[in-house]
Symmetry: C2
Subunit: 320 residues, 2 copies
């Protein structure tokens, strides 16, 4: 059996932003329409080595491949790979030794797609809370979809915030660590590992908020009050209710558990449908909110979609 | 990242019966002692292509690697591989492209180990019901542990039974398709995909029965009456209760749900402890049965153990 192991340099050459955006958008729409298959993940724990391993699988109905992603974290060091399998014959097609980058890119693409779709046109000032890899990626990927002129940053550690500003400046963007000043920015993206709500000052002017940090129980980024009267979209209803900030707001009694819409529906139809006429899930009246919130917890089908796209594009390139 | 993909010829050279027997025995003992980690498997279904994919993971506490096994069946064709990961650092160590053979061998080894341990010494006549790959392997692996002089075979299709007899004859064994005659053999191994009990005539003389065919709900090989007063061992208590023949007998009211012992305990201590003095689980009196039954449904930790053994032996060979 010859099973190609595709390393990060080759993956990066194939997985252009166009490829990733296309795969993620299609997967989120399919997920909203119930056309994906995502079994509950497996977790193995290795307490003696401060390690755990998460195994996730997913398939977007009709696509050529499905994927099994193995992601381990031992003593804070991430590792893993994605196995891509032919979905018509069950034959393993390739191992993507992506060093976790496909997960980072699909997260960036999902965030950028929904942030762009829900932030009013013309807004070019964005605040990002958090100073890690996703803080940089969420903005640089959003910038591929719309012009961004001003970045406002906040992090718990001022030196990390300054470092992130410098990284943005290196990309030709104006960036300052002032995301909490003057009521904050009209578009806010949260990328932290917070377990208690971030400062409310950051959200006072927000027309749209995208939260990507609440990926497991116990996480909490967005103040629950933000959800009052907001137009809320979730990437996976059950998952966001279980451990997203949407769930935190529901448990606080701020919003009803059936008040969210699907991210994929907005990517397919645009946000105007939800805002102007279509009633929110389980209600009879249209949403009249001025603030929107996207709660993203990460959908396994997007892993399958980007992995399948890499393998599909690789083979189509080889054939040419 | 350099990830070796090890094919079947190299795996077969490393995974000698000695290696497989050692790994499986250790894993079953560890499993009996609660020292294994086996999360619930994942299943993806592909009805358009008559396909499914089962993802299993497991770890034997303290061993150098854990494993994630991906096994797919599309239109009755099996495929898959095993990913082996370092259990101290989370780094993928190798992909075993074993074409399903490690699963076949670990199943053969588990069956042979417990059949040998529980069948009285000196018995060299064995009946095997079923005519597939495991029918051959269960006997040939048992023969590595004790002398076998006479094989008795039964299958629903007489031509398949004759073919299996011929395969045994080719290995120098006396074999006849007469497993139902004269009350059957003193040692019986069932390897079928039966969904209703096999003929009772096959078990009338049985001192020990090993059943390996009930690997999912709906399967049923052993007549439930066999379990009355029998000494019963299971490879995984919950799994055998859920979908093994032990569970079928419990649901029929023939045996209590806590009457089984662990296969691993017998492999560690020998069957005499259970027979002569130690009370069965949940009882106060010793077992006084003359018939024993081993119900094997397949333990994920044995997959991890054989995969880890292959990788460990490969690297130790390379170092020498």
């Amino acid at each position: 059996m010859s099973l190609p192991v595709i390393g990060l340099p080759e993956i990066a050459a194939i997985a252009t932003p166009e490829v990733i955006f296309g795969a993620v958008k299609e997967a989120l729409i399919a997920h909203a329409e119930g056309r994906t298959s995502v079994p509950p993940p497996m977790v193995l724990e290795f307490p003696d080595h401060a390690g755990d391993c998460h195994v996730k699988a997913g398939h977007v109905g009709g696509s050529a491949h499905f994927a099994v992603k193995i992601a381990s974290t031992f003593a804070s060091v991430n590792n893993g790979l994605i196995l891509v399998i032919d979905a018509t014959a069950g034959v393993p097609a390739a191992v993507l030794a992506d060093e976790g980058m496909l997960t980072a890119w699909r997260t960036a693409a999902a965030g950028a797609l929904i942030t762009h779709a829900m932030t009013p046109p013309g807004i070019d000032e964005v605040a990002v809370l958090g100073t890690g890899e996703q803080a940089l990626l969420q903005v640089t990927w959003l910038r591929k979809l719309r012009p961004i002129n001003r970045i406002r940053v906040w992090g718990r550690r001022p030196e990390a915030a300054e470092r992130l500003c410098q990284a943005f400046e290196n990309e030709g963007l104006e960036a300052r660590a002032d995301a909490l000043e003057g009521g904050g920015a009209p578009c806010v993206i949260t990328t932290t590992a917070a377990r208690s709500p971030l400062p409310t000052e950051a959200f006072r002017n927000a027309l749209h908020v995208t939260g990507i940090g609440t990926d497991m129980p116990g996480k909490h980024e967005l103040p629950v009050e933000l959800f009052a009267d907001a137009l809320v979209v979730t990437d996976d209803h059950d998952q966001c209710l279980h451990h997203g900030d949407f769930g935190n707001a529901v448990r606080a009694g701020i919003i009803r558990p059936n008040a969210d819409h699907a991210v994929g529906a907005v990517l397919r139809d645009g946000p105007a449908v939800l805002r102007d006429g279509r009633p929110a899930r389980g209600t009879r009246s249209p949403v009249r909110s001025t603030r929107s919130i996207a709660d993203l917890t990460g959908v396994g089908a997007t892993d399958a979609a980007v992995a399948s796209a890499v393998v599909g594009n690789r083979f189509s390139t080889l054939v040419e």
